[in-house]
Amino acid sequence: MTQALSDRRVLIVEDESLVAMLLETILEDMGCTPVGPASTVDEGLEMATGAESLDAALLDVNVSGRLVFPVADALKARGVPFVFSTGYGEGGLPEEWRGQATIQKPFTEAAVRDALMKAMGIEQA
């Protein structure tokens, strides 16, 4: 099951380094290659629209007080699946993004894996 995600390049947008380090560790354990992490929306946009090849992304909704949605738009335009991470709960997402794969802080490895697979459309075993 975990092999489904191995060698995938996953962008991380997250303003707190400790949380970013946690996500990196979880991704590495699943065999993924973390890209970033970007600590601001601008940095995230640069990485999302740059030459970097990306298979998926994990986006913190509130990045240093700014909402991450411009990065989400850029990824959507590029066809890169992504997962929101948030401390606000389901209600924290605007109408437009309801139904998008989401993980709640604090997160388990299983929650991160399931959300990524849902976003990428990978059938779960």
Partner: protein
């Protein structure tokens, strides 16, 4: 009499008729000065034209020194003012008012007399009051007769005299007059209560909802505008497109009251300014005349803007608190996971994990003291190194205000530096010390430079493998603070140099 004189011969006739009338008349200016009086008036009041023309009415006649005199004067004055202000005739059925009279010996005395009076406003072409005409009838003799028969036969008895003077007509007049007085004072009390009510009150009349009356709270709500006599749409143009006129219309048409709770209304509260949001609880109720027809709308309610804003703030704060708690839990989760990876032994794991948790908690304490506004760098340093003995730490630098996120980052960084110094560096040797100094350069784009220098300890050696501690320092400085860090393992001792912009504005 200017008005009368204008119409030529007819005016002369009218003036002549006025003077010849057996009914006493006095003509007053709107400020209650005597402008003219006919002979009958001069006769009943024992005065002359010269003595009274141009005088204020109550200087010429003050009802004498009796206990009730001021009350009597007030009654007459109120009736005159009412006639003037409402431009409607007003009646005083019975009023006691003393007037001077000379005794046969020529001595002046005050004689108590009873009067019935009618006050009529006289308007010009523009509808303004230019004169007030007082028509008085001296009914003293009738009143005296009534009093004396009441004393002889008892108040309830019906006498031939009563029948003769119109079947208790004077008694009825007196009762009506007293009722009027009582109603007027009750009305004034009610008006006072409305005026001082903490809630807003307004009375609107007619299909265009014309302001007849509104209290101080209503004035405050609507920005102290002059509303009286104006239709609501004209008085408060900004509410027209907000549906309030439609609501008033529906109350006026259907008679069904309308309630609103915490309704948003945008009101211009200072001239020339943009409309402000206000929230109101209100009720519109129909006002009906004696026949049950709807003639107006009674508006009352409370300005609940403060309550609504406080609830909004509270919701924002709870959302923000939840966000912070969840982020902090994710941070703790990360610390636990990373610490576990470098400490296979549960005992050393627990020790390291707890120490990191306490470092985080200490910075939280500092931030709580400032209501999460921020913390001073020196205070963060002192807090995180306290356990190692203040005499072994030298902290030199100016006050530097850190935002909450930067304070939390520095807290973690300094904890890791101090832990490292206690394990392997200067604080592991009895004479070792740590010198920390910092400065802020370039006030326009302030950059903080902090140097952590260990002396008197064993020579430093670079670690074979980068542990969580040094990764945490480097990541925090680069990622969270957008700064630079240089770790130097010199033989004279370990040192770290950190520089970070202060106006990065994590919340921008």
């Amino acid at each position: 009499m200017k008005q009368l004189a204008k119409s030529g011969d007819l005016a002369v006739d009218l003036a002549g008729a006025f003077d010849a009338s057996p009914n006493p008349y006095v003509l007053l200016t709107p400020d209650l000065r005597i402008a003219g009086a006919n002979q009958a008036y001069l006769d009943v009041t024992n005065s002359t034209r010269d003595a009274i023309i141009g005088q204020p009415l109550f200087a010429a006649f003050d009802s004498g020194p009796g206990d009730e005199a001021p009350q009597n004067v007030r009654q007459v004055q109120a009736s005159l003012e009412k006639a003037r202000d409402t431009r409607q005739r007003d009646h005083l059925a019975l009023v006691r008012f003393s007037i001077p009279r000379a005794t046969p010996a020529g001595e002046p005395v005050l004689e108590e007399r009873y009067w019935s009076a009618t006050h009529t406003p006289i308007l010009n072409a523009e509808g303004e009051v230019i004169w007030l005409l007082q028509h008085t009838t001296d009914i003293t003799e009738l009143e005296r007769l009534r009093q004396s028969t009441a004393a002889t036969h008892g108040a309830a008895s019906s006498t031939a005299l009563d029948a003769m003077i119109g079947g208790n007509v004077l008694e009825r007049a007196r009762i009506v007059q007293e009722d009027n007085l009582r109603l007027a004072s009750e009305r004034n009390r009610l008006v006072d209560m409305f005026m001082q009510s903490p809630g807003f009150v307004a009375v609107l009349s007619g299909p265009t909802h014309v302001f007849q009356f509104y209290n101080e709270a209503y004035r405050r709500l609507t920005g102290h505008r002059d509303l009286e006599g104006l239709a609501t749409a004209q008085a408060l143009p900004e509410v027209v497109d907000q549906g309030f006129i439609d609501l008033l219309d529906s109350v006026f048409e259907t008679g069904e009251p309308v309630h609103g709770q915490a309704s948003l209304v945008k009101l211009q509260r200072s001239p020339g300014e943009a409309p402000e949001d206000a929230y109101v609880d209100f009720v519109y109720q129909p006002i009906r005349d004696v026949d049950g027809r709807i003639v107006g709308v009674f508006v009352q309610g409370h300005d609940v803007t403060d309550v609504v804003k406080a609830a909004e703030r509270q919701k924002l704060m709870i959302d923000e608190l939840n966000h912070r708690v969840k982020n902090t839990l994710a941070t703790v989760q990360s610390i636990a996971m990373q610490t576990a990876r470098s400490h296979p032994d549960p005992r050393t794991f627990a020790e390291s994990f707890q120490a990191r948790l306490m470092a985080l908690s200490h910075t939280h304490d500092l931030l709580t003291r400032s209501h999460w506004e921020g913390a001073d760098l020196g205070a963060v340093l002192a807090h995180e190194t306290e356990a190692h003995g203040p005499h072994r730490m030298t902290l030199v630098g100016p006050p530097v205000a850190l935002d909450p996120a930067a304070a939390l980052s520095f807290g973690m960084i300094i904890h890791e530096l101090a832990t490292n110094a206690a394990k392997y560096g200067a604080l592991s040797a009895p004479e070792g010390r740590v010198l920390v100094d910092w400065a802020v350069s370039d006030q326009l784009n302030p950059v903080l430079t902090l140097t952590w220098r260990e002396v008197g300890g064993p020579p430093a050696t670079p670690p074979e493998r980068k542990g969580f501690g040094s990764r945490l320092i480097e990541r925090n400085v680069r990622h969270d603070l957008a700064g630079e860090v240089k770790l130097d393992y010199a033989s004279s001792g370990f040192s770290a140099e950190i520089s970070a912009p202060l106006d990065r504005g994590r919340r921008s």
